[in-house]
Amino acid sequence: MSWVNAVVQGILLGGLYALVAAGLSLVFGVMRIVNLAHGVLAVLAAFGAYVLGDALGLHPFLALLVVVPVMAAVGYGLQRGLLNRALGGGELAPLLVTFGLAIVLQNALLEAFSADSRRLDVGALGTASIRLGDGLTVGVFPLLAAVVGVLVIAAIGQFLARTATGRAMRATSDDRDAAALMGIDGRHLYGVATAIALGTVAIAGVFLGARSTFDPAAGGVTLIFAFEAVVIGGLGSLWGTLLGGVVLGVAQALGAAVDPAYGVLAGHLVFLVVLATRPRGLLPSAVTA
């Protein structure tokens, strides 16, 4: 039963990883930018929800109504003001810019909030659970996080497949110059893509901030697991990212069931094996961006 338990908990954890990685995957798929500030931006969103909760007593999920649009606006501004300029400077420039941004943001958060750990209080939801059988109990909160992860990825997928903006985004991703000839403004579309990505990061940040404590330096681990999920699944493929998250989560949980020392390691090993044998990931991007 403990193996079944490990797999179930791993799948739920994978859903959370996918939620965190969705924005990373989208940004890479559309612009080929690896956003190294992704983890810190999630922490920023968590702090945003924390401040709203502290000042107005808003439940973290209600705070999302404010944090998501604000982060989306930040994303649009960031893309138009900073990343679009960096895109012209070769492949390395956006990487360096986001790396620098991560350091600046982390230290700004440290300055503003100190190194104290915080947590978003979701009340009884945090510890509620559903008993599925002997020795198999799943927490309501991890389940919710996984469901939201799937919904976010499905929503982005539908957006890319069915809306005019989504189609334009894919077109720009395939060939920016040709898309521009058709009258598509790449700069604006990139801004929209980053806005969506940061909107999802805001949701992820709130879930991360409620499942454990966070501090300004918490973004690093977040980024590594999200990045691994994206690579395992296939760079730029959204459903691949979901699969990648689940593979990573299950690998960690199964590894830990053998010996806790192998938990994180098993995840890294799967990542390496996939990178070595299927460098394009398990589900290489075919349809979506």
Binding site: A6, S117, R119, S129, S212, P260, A261, V264
Partner: protein
């Protein structure tokens, strides 16, 4: 401290010295700790180096001082990783570096005293990470507590940053571990504790180091932090006073709270004590000359706000021990702070008053 020294320059060997304190941030990074120590020695010309908190910070600082022949006083890391972790042995100790803190034997005694106050089946589950603390604890704890009939279930050392603890939780449930102990970092314990509740693991007593040190970390865990226990190195109730300012432990904590608006923390006393030891050693040496200072440190005895320190009777050379008791975090209704640390075990230090006994977890 800067204010104190401005009013009280040190009189050594007939000369009045203004004390300049140069602060460097190690960012809890061992490489950086060594670098900034080198800067203090080479660029700032420091006569004495003080450092605190965790083997990762303390050891590289002390190593750098040892290599450069500069006196160094450190604290807030158990003495075993400080002493043995830096390759010393009884016969082959350090020339320039001195340390004061408690050791694993103290935390083992305190935890067992707290366990014995609660009715359990003597089965304990261990949450030990794969870091210097986790390695030291896992190597030492099981053998020591087995003498008193406790059995520790250790599923294995996990990596810091692990996101899923279902393996440990299943193992603890299978062993019916009514005692939980560990030395996890704060975010990992918060993750574990929430998952334990989701998956229905509820020990009767939890004694946890590191993660429950700071009130802010306990607050961040939320309501379920009520009743968690930890070892206590210093509280405002300690019956000691500063050899520099004459402040009692309570007055020192009050001064910190009124200045910062934040709840007192345990390291406050120890950082203050670092300066007490520094002044005592310099006064004893009556000079800022390095050799004279370490000669003074070698058999220094000084009463500080964290207790009586004595380098002549330490467990090993270069180390003086500080008292250790046990405490339980309790939620306060409408109190000044959401959680207060109540001393519940003083078996090792009867001179430090308790304010209650361990209450089992709900």
């Amino acid at each position: 401290m800067t204010d104190y020294f401005a009013d009280n320059p040190l009189e050594l060997g007939g000369t009045s010295y203004d004390v300049e304190i140069v602060v460097k941030d190690t960012q809890s990074d061992s490489v950086r700790a060594g670098e900034v120590t080198a800067e203090l020695i080479n660029d700032d010309g420091a006569d004495l180096i003080l450092a605190a908190s965790t083997p990762d910070t303390v050891n590289p600082v002390a190593d750098q001082c040892e290599a450069n022949g500069v006196p160094c006083i450190t604290t807030a890391a158990p003495w075993q990783p400080y002493f043995f972790g830096r390759g010393a042995s009884e016969g082959d100790s350090f020339d320039w570096t001195y340390h004061f803190f408690w050791g694993l034997e103290d935390v083992e005694a305190v935890y067992q005293d707290m366990w014995s106050q609660v009715d359990t089946n003597s089965q304990a589950g261990a949450l030990w990470p794969n870091d210097p603390d986790g390695n030291a604890w896992s190597a030492d704890f099981p053998g020591v507590v087995s003498e008193n009939g406790y059995t520790i279930t250790d599923p294995g050392l996990y990596e810091n940053g692990t996101q899923d603890y279902s393996a440990q939780i299943s193992a603890f449930q299978a062993a019916d571990a009514q005692i939980l102990l560990g030395v996890p970092i704060p975010p990992d314990f918060a993750t574990f504790w929430q998952q334990a509740q989701q998956q229905g693991y509820s020990p009767r007593i939890a004694t946890v180091a590191k993660a429950l040190l700071f009130p802010s970390a306990v607050e961040a865990i939320g309501d379920s932090a009520d009743g968690l226990s930890t070892e206590v190195w210093w509280t405002p109730e300690y019956p000691y006073e500063s050899s520099l300012t004459g402040q009692s432990a309570q007055e020192l904590a009050d001064a910190y709270e009124s200045e910062t608006g934040q709840q007192w923390t345990q390291p406050i006393g120890f950082v203050h004590a670092l300066f007490e030891v520094a002044v005592a050693a310099l006064t004893e040496a009556d000079s800022v000359e390095g050799q004279a200072v370490v000669d003074a440190l070698a058999d220094l005895q000084v009463s500080t706000v964290v207790g009586d320190l004595d380098w002549t009777s330490g467990p090993v050379p270069n180390v003086a021990k500080t008292p250790l008791v046990g405490g339980q975090w309790r939620a306060t209704e409408g109190g000044e702070h959401p959680f207060e640390l109540v001393i519940v075990s003083n078996s090792e230090q009867p001179g430090i008053p308790t304010a209650g006994t361990v209450e089992p977890l709900g």
